[in-house]
Symmetry: D2
Subunit: 103 residues, 4 copies
C-alpha cells in the first residue's frame, strides 16, 4: 500500500506569523527519512500508514510542548499496487496534458 498524506499543523495561539513553528517541524520531517515534499499549504509524506502517522505524531508532540491550541489537517490517499506517487501523480497528469505544469 502506498499511503500518501498531506498535512499541515499550526499553533492557533501564537499570532499570525507561525513560520518559526513550521520550520522547527520541518526539521522533524526531514530527519525522519520518510519521502516528503513541501508545498505552500502543507507537507506530503509517502510510506506505510504507521510511518506516515508516526512522523505526524512526533511533530504534534513537539508542538504540544509550547502551544496550547493547535490546528491540524490531514488528507490521505491510499492506493494498493502503486508506489512513488509523491512524484508520480504529477508526472502522469503532465503526460496526459502533454506539457510541463507549474509545480
Amino acid at each position: 500500500m502506498s499511503v500518501l498524506a498531506e498535512f499541515s499543523m499550526s499553533p492557533m495561539d501564537k499570532g499570525d506569523s507561525v513560520s518559526k513553528y513550521v520550520a522547527r517541524s520541518v526539521e522533524i520531517i526531514a530527519e525522519s527519512g520518510v519521502p516528503y515534499r513541501l508545498g505552500p499549504m502543507g507537507t506530503c509524506l509517502e510510506g506505510e500508514w504507521d510511518q506516515v502517522f508516526g512522523v505526524i505524531k512526533r511533530r504534534y508532540d513537539r508542538m504540544a510542548q509550547d502551544c496550547r491550541r493547535i490546528t491540524c489537517s490531514i488528507k490521505v490517499d491510499v492506493r494498493a499496487g502503486h508506489e512513488g506517487r509523491i512524484t508520480g501523480k504529477i508526472a502522469k497528469v503532465e503526460q496526459l496534458v502533454g506539457r510541463t505544469l507549474q509545480k
Copy 2:
C-alpha cells in the same frame, strides 16, 4: 489535552454508493468506547492523540482489507485545559448567539 478530530474515510473504487462501508466502520467507532458524534460529512472523536488515531487506524485496517483505493480526511483541533468539547463547543456558540441552533 483534548484532541478533537473529525474524520471521514471512503473507498474510491466501489462506485458512488459507499454507505455499506461507512456503516461497517461506524461499528468500529461505536465499539471503541471513545466519545464520538456522527455528522453528515464525518465523525468526530474526542480523546488523547493515541486513542483518537488508534480508532482511525482500526477503521483504515478494516477498509484496506477489501478496498484498493481509499480517501480519508482528518481535521484536528487540540486544546490544553479544555475537555468535553465534542458537545461543549456548540453549547458555547449557542450561549453567545442567545438561541438554539440546528444541530
Copy 3:
C-alpha cells in the same frame, strides 16, 4: 445536484479563543435560509453550489473586516439525484447499522 459542504473558518491572529468570531458567523448562516447543521468541528450546508459558496463568501467578507489572517477548510460532497442528505446520510447509516448512534 445536492451540494453538501462542511466548512470552518477561524481567525489565526486573535489568540486561542475564537468563539466570538464563530458566533458572529453562525448568525450569517442562520439568516441565509440555507439548510445548515452545526457540528463540533464545522458547519454543514446543503444547496446548489452558488448558494452554499455564497454563504461561505459572506462569512469570509465579515471576518476579513477585522481579522488579518484567516484559515478556512471546506469539504464538499456532490451527488446527483439525491436531496436532503444533510439529515439523510446519518439516517441511512443508522438503518444499515440497525440502531441509533450518537449525533
Copy 4:
C-alpha cells in the same frame, strides 16, 4: 488580501483511476491565468477570493457534466499585507531552516 487555496476535486463514481478527470481540470486552471502550483494531493491557487473560487467553480461545472458523485476539499489561508505566498512561504521556511528542502 492574498487568498491562498489548495483544492482537489475527484469523481467518486469512476473507479480508482481518476487521472483523466484531473488532467482535464488542470487545463481549466492553466488557462485561467491565476498563479497555480500542482502538488501530489492538490493544486494551489493564489489571488483574490472571487478569482480563486471562480476557477474552482469552473472546474466543478466541467466535472458535473459527466460525473454523478464528486468529492472536493479546499483549504484556504488568507493573509492581509502579503503577496506571492504561493512561492514565498516555502522560501521563508527554507531560510529559517538554513537549507534547501524537497519540493
